[in-house]
Assembly symmetry: C2
């Protein structure tokens, strides 16, 4: 028997509702396996901040680091100033645990509606860099609040940082349909752009079975709505990945279905799995939230711990559940979770 | 009589085909008015670069500066390295002539197909900052080509630069449906983000008739495909504006219809009007290009020189032309231009 030490951050709002369903499905998927899940709840997010003024302490980090993985619901509420939890907690976790792969699959499941008229095949994976680029927090303000204010934001990119995520993306592409698209803006951001291009070229030489493509980020948004089937794996920087994956989520049937993993492939620190959606205070506490994005994030967690079979069973359960929704009355958060767990057990 | 001294840069590829049609419609729109158009051709773009190695010389700039406005087709071909013309010519023009308003309207005309299933009303204006942000060319590379390479890109933002474009956007919103959305990413890019927020708040106080909204750039891409009618005027930074306007173009029926103005509202330097599309070498020289984006850019030029009536006639002609296309055989570039000029004259 092995034990999966899972840190659980429900967070705020619907985080409290979707995470238990994710755990329910996780338990079902591991039933009869040699893995037992041991969860530790962590009180982090807007609630904690309102009470204590703390976002993420060094002690929190140390305790989290003792776990194999983290499952996060969603954090935030309208009364927390912008940036406090994002930078103080979410980004701090990604950086402190060196979660350099931000993995965001998009797949348009049967039965799911999309804003696109004629989506074609939508099944791609965005590998977003998670620890560099414009997200490093390297900016400054001069003469704040005056008419002479100057504000900067510095995007930092290193060969080390780019190479490891590019390599991960090539591995993914090799295991999928063998196609990788670099998205950047190298005609304007020439320094960062050149670094990304060079590394994709270099690493690509080791993957002759993967065909390589390039799109400027602006053009990539066009392709996402006119021809998403051209994408298999997209590798891109932190900010471009942020933008593209929200758009991808919308195309794939809404951010309510979008899963993500913040992964440190070395295992030196825990990886973190979270739905892309927010805490949705407007619907919180009513059992209205769809736990599917959390459940799909659990599938990524299962992949990460080497349980690809269990992950596939979860995805198949989600696929069937989504396909069966049309014409049926809406179910509560817990009911969807229960149904999914059932399906995973049956599969 | 007054004279409009117009510098004309056909550029490359389909630029040679669409620009003459833009000029044809411009002439038609000003027929019977007190404005005569005096055009000066400028040989700039990939062709010139291949022959001479020059992108835009100081002398070109000086000569261009003697004009009231610039009409540009498209530049580039696959044999010019990425960034050479973009930075050496297009961006150099925007910066040298302080074209701080990059104006990009999106309107889904009747009869035009869109990738969206249910677009609703699509009629908004993106006011993109044109002279600051990550486009300033302030980056560097250390240990280039080695495994220790570090590359930076610095986004520079000033109160002066943000305030003037925000003010312009509020003016536009006040003259339209009275709604302005700031798009940024202030929860991560806190320094630049705070500057934008503060200025929008300050300037907004002078425009009580304009309601103000905010969206993170990632969320904005979702809204563009799920609920574009929420937008009237979007004001945003240079890079976010680049991304959003390509997506907006796709939603509004394709980049082949997307017009833009690079405007210096002070008149100290010429403003430049150009279709958003590229030089499309694959279809160049065959009369296949649609000149509509160029014609709509001419409408922006007419607005800019205070001929709102003529601009409206051009837009109405385009509207009717697009509405009448269904079921008719495709026309050549020149035929579409001729038909539009005819319609403008008749209106
Ligand atoms: C909340 C925010 C910091 C975060 C990001 O920008 O990465 C979010 O948008 C995401 O995509 O996970
Ligand atoms: C060609 C390129 C420099 C340019 C930009 O990024 O601004 C283009 O994408 C545009 O939108 O006009």
């Amino acid at each position: 028997m092995s034990t999966l030490k899972l840190a659980v951050i429900e967070g705020d709002g619907i985080g409290h509702e979707v995470v238990p369903e994710g755990l329910r499905v996780l338990a079902a998927a591991l039933e009869g396996s040699d893995v037992t899940v041991e969860t530790t709840p962590f009180d982090l997010g807007a609630g904690r901040w309102h009470r204590t003024g703390e976002t993420l302490t060094d002690e929190d980090l140390e305790r989290l680091a003792e776990h194999d993985a983290i499952l996060l619901g969603a954090v935030g509420d309208p009364d927390v100033p912008s940036g406090v939890l994002e930078r103080g907690m979410l980004l701090r976790l990604r950086f402190a645990f060196d979660q350099y792969v931000n993995l965001r699959p998009t797949r348009l499941f049967t039965g799911v509606s999309t804003p696109l008229q004629d989506p074609g095949q939508v099944d791609f994976l965005v590998v977003r860099e998670g620890t560099e680029g414009p997200y490093v927090g390297n900016g400054g303000t001069l003469r704040e609040g005056t008419k002479d204010e100057v504000a900067t934001e510095v995007s930092l990119n290193t060969a080390l940082g780019v190479e490891r995520v590019v390599r991960y993306a090539f591995d993914q592409a090799a295991a999928r349909r063998g196609h990788l698209t670099l998205v950047h803006k190298h005609n304007v951001l020439v320094h960062a752009g050149h670094l990304w291009r060079r590394i994709v070229e270099q690493v690509g030489a080791e993957y002759p079975q993967v065909s390589v493509d390039y799109a400027h980020v602006d053009a990539a948004t066009i392709y996402l709505v006119t021809d998403p089937s051209r994408f298999d794996v997209i590798v891109t920087d932190n900010l471009f990945g942020d933008i593209l994956t929200d758009l991808a989520g919308a195309i794939g049937g809404g951010i309510g279905l979008a899963a993500s993993g913040n992964i440190n492939p070395t295992g030196a620190f825990p990886s973190m799995f979270e739905p892309v959606h927010g805490s949705a205070p407007d619907i919180a506490g009513q059992g209205l939230a769809d736990p599917t994005a959390t459940v799909l994030s659990v599938a990524l967690l299962l992949d990460h711990i080497g349980r690809a079979d269990a992950a596939e069973r979860v995805r198949r359960a989600v696929e069937q559940d989504l396909a069966s929704r049309a014409g049926r009355p809406a179910r509560s958060t817990a009911q969807i979770g229960t149904d999914l767990a059932e399906a995973v057990r049956g599969a």
